[in-house]
Symmetry: C2
Subunit: 224 residues, 2 copies
């Protein structure tokens, strides 16, 4: 398509839009390849071929293949920020907020076991990725904690545990579920998340009132 | 020390005891090295030097370095079997059985973040190890389920979830806690496990009776 104002240099707006689109294209192509043939076996060249860009273009956006995974983490963080803002705006009950996080953590591309394995592998084996991911985690946990605290203030959640501890358990449960499921890679992810969520929310105690042991009696036995 | 009966060939009992000792020595040396310098950077030669055995001896016991991790899984399974047998014998309440599992999963060598990272890495990256670990997991889950069912029969645990689902959530939570903690590798493992355990057991619902939402009201919102 010919430019409408051929002599005018590209506007900064359009340039940054084009740049974001290119970055997104590389990112999507990479995630698809990781899913098809694993993170380890995907080369930067595979990615640039699939995204139809030059190698130089790739390195303009991502210093290394690992940085694609970091971009993935940032994308998730951005989605989380939007979810939190929306939940605050609509005064969403914590129960529903947490459900929306489960949904966030089980939709594409996370629903692909190979993507999860790639993410976790990079997390575990590469100290630079690990550090960057831990920085991301700190931000994610702060957002979760904020929501848990709100839930506590509204009387939706028990108050005898610190918001950050509750947020951490929630986070660990999601990652543990993703980890174990990714080894099987079957269709069980939603039902695994559902059970975990159900138990975390309402507890293992029997539905009888007398079985609802108060937390103070629980702290004793095996750790002493 | 000179043999007392120099001409008698080694008895099958002693041979199998020596064999078990050798295997154990190689295994311990390997785990120590994985902890010191990571699984990836440990060679079979490092292990045989540390254990003071020949390379041939190593391969008699372990077809590859990865098999050390499988042996680790088998050791844990064996410990679990003993714990289950003991719990059945003493009619241990499920709460205390689960606590003993947490203890089992947080003692040496698991308390070493590098060991956990090595285990998870092998799990994620090596299909052969993964398959063998999944077979182990099946046995572990069956034992957990058995205990959960016993807890249900004794009225200690809610009955609206299948024992296997509860066992899976427990397992996933333990692995998720180990995974996230291993990235930090700090002293927080016991307190992370404690919080996870506390929430799983008693739930996030407020300690007020009215806040103890029945499970049937929880299934609806965001998944529809």
């Amino acid at each position: 398509m010919p430019r409408t104002l051929a002599d005018k240099p590209e506007s900064p707006d359009r340039r940054s839009r084009r740049s974001a689109e290119l970055r997104e294209r590389i990112f999507r192509a990479a995630l698809e390849l990781f899913a098809q043939k694993s993170f380890a076996e995907t080369t930067v060249e595979d990615i640039t071929t699939a995204a139809d860009v030059g190698k130089g273009t790739f390195f303009n956006y991502f210093p290394s293949k690992d940085h694609i995974l970091l971009a993935f983490g940032e994308m998730q963080l951005q989605r989380l920020r939007e979810t939190v803002a929306e939940a605050r705006r609509t005064n969403l009950p914590l129960l529903e907020f947490l459900r929306s996080l489960v949904t966030l953590m089980t939709k594409e591309p996370i629903r692909n076991p190979e993507v999860i394995r790639s993410l976790l592998l990079a997390f575990l084996s590469n100290p630079e990725v690990r550090q960057a991911m831990m920085d991301l985690q700190t931000k994610v946990l702060a957002l979760h904690s904020e929501m848990v605290q709100l839930g506590q203030e509204r009387g939706e959640v028990r108050k005898d545990l610190a918001p950050i501890d509750i947020a951490q358990v929630f986070r660990q449960t999601i990652f543990g579920t993703l980890l174990i499921w990714s080894l099987y890679g079957d269709a069980s992810l939603p039902s695994r998340m559902d059970s975990a969520f159900e138990i975390i929310w309402s507890g293992l105690s029997p539905r009888r009132q007398s079985g609802n042991v108060s937390s103070s009696t629980l702290v004793v036995p095996m750790f002493m």
